[in-house]
Subunit: 207 residues, 2 copies
DNA sequence: CACAAAAGTGACGAAACGTCAATTTGCGAC
DNA sequence: GTCGCAAATTGACGTTTCGTCACTTTTGTG
């Protein structure tokens, strides 16, 4: 073998710097959004956080908004396998719900470790939920719910509404949890799981 | 009485044009956001929709974002009395929940009559959760829930989380409803009310 | 009517945007 | 190695939007 052993990844320097630059921009953008807030941040601020020139930014993204969408999309992409594992390892429907919420709450706690401006200001005013990976997460949730219904683990409900309800609950209760000084992931997950399974009775405090 | 009869409203022309101008800007902004999308819209686009000069804009708002917040705030302000009436007229806790959701879904259907860009791209309604009126809506929901708990109409749950869950559900299921060709407000309200009261069992289809 | 305070106006400098001709870098061919 | 071409980077430049401010107009008051 005269070739180097690294022929499993036939990746040239060209492509490598390309993904590296894209990543550098995304990382810089995260930091800038956290520090200045999304609205106040400019494309120049972002590119200044890398060693690239201003013109190069536009080789990778059309605008600040597109960078944000890419960040959101990346987040969803990273979360998806976690969600899938939660489903595959679940012993029961209740178990699935609980571990999925635990996974999500854990994920957002991690994702907001960066300090800076309040979390609300790091996002655009209008959050778009229709990026490809975002949609995929919704589809995954919905599919899981439909499977559970088909399998008799859950009553025959409107899976679309239910998936939306789950996502809405996860988002809002998740944000509320982040606002609290102590991020009690299990308590939050217990709350929402109980609420979904048994309604208010199920969400009641255990004290 | 030598004075004119209109002394019940001691409002001079000064104040009158002031509120009129502010309102004109907000209305123009709504239209511009609907037509161009929020991100693409500029302060100049907005002011062009009124008969005011560009400099005048800054007498009323600091930026496009502040206009958006004002629109959101106005939406919340209009919704609050509706929510309050739902509570005061409710015969029971279940009735309160149901009519509150009906009111909200009705509200967002009305609020999205304007045609233009896809709803995701404009959205001058309930999204930002940290404007004064928005917070007031949250407080109102939470207070209602705490009252119900104290009165024994609901189990002893974490009212903060529950309020957030209700709001999250309302937003997401509301959006899902808007996406459907037929906006069946009652069906959506039945779904979420059942879900909250009895969990999945309560949300099951009635067929 | 006169005068002062408040509000409106639009031109102007500053800031951010997005483009592009010139330059550098990567990569295959010889 | 080096030659040549394509791809990517660069930063200066023209353009667009921003936000301000000196000036004008409007409103309220005596």
């Amino acid at each position: 073998m005269s070739e180097t052993a690294a022929n499993v990844e036939p990746i040239g320097k060209r492509e490598k710097t390309k993904v590296a630059n894209r990543q550098a921009i995304l990382i810089a953008a995260r930091a800038v959004f956290a520090e200045l807030g999304y609205e106040a941040a400019t494309v120049r601020d972002i590119i200044r956080g890398t060693d690239l020139a201003s013109g190069t930014f536009y080789n990778y993204f059309k605008s600040k908004e597109e960078v944000f969408d890419a960040l959101a999309d990346d987040g969803a992409r990273r979360f998806r396998p976690i969600l899938r594992m939660a489903r595959e390892n679940a012993k029961s429907f209740e178990d699935y719900l609980h571990s999925a919420f635990v996974a999500y709450f854990h994920f957002i706690v991690q994702d907001n470790q960066l300090e800076g401006r309040p979390i609300e200001e790091r996002r655009p005013h209008i959050l778009r939920m229709d990026t490809p990976e975002m949609t995929a997460v919704y589809q995954e949730v919905r599919q899981s719910l439909e499977d559970a219904i088909a399998h008799g683990d859950a009553p025959h409900v409107d899976a679309d509404y239910l998936a939306c309800a789950c996502i809405g609950i996860a988002q809002e209760v998740g944000s509320a949890m982040l606002r609290r000084s102590l991020h009690d992931i299990d308590a939050a997950a217990d709350f929402v799981t109980g609420l979904l399974l048994k309604g208010l009775t199920g969400a009641a405090r255990k004290d």
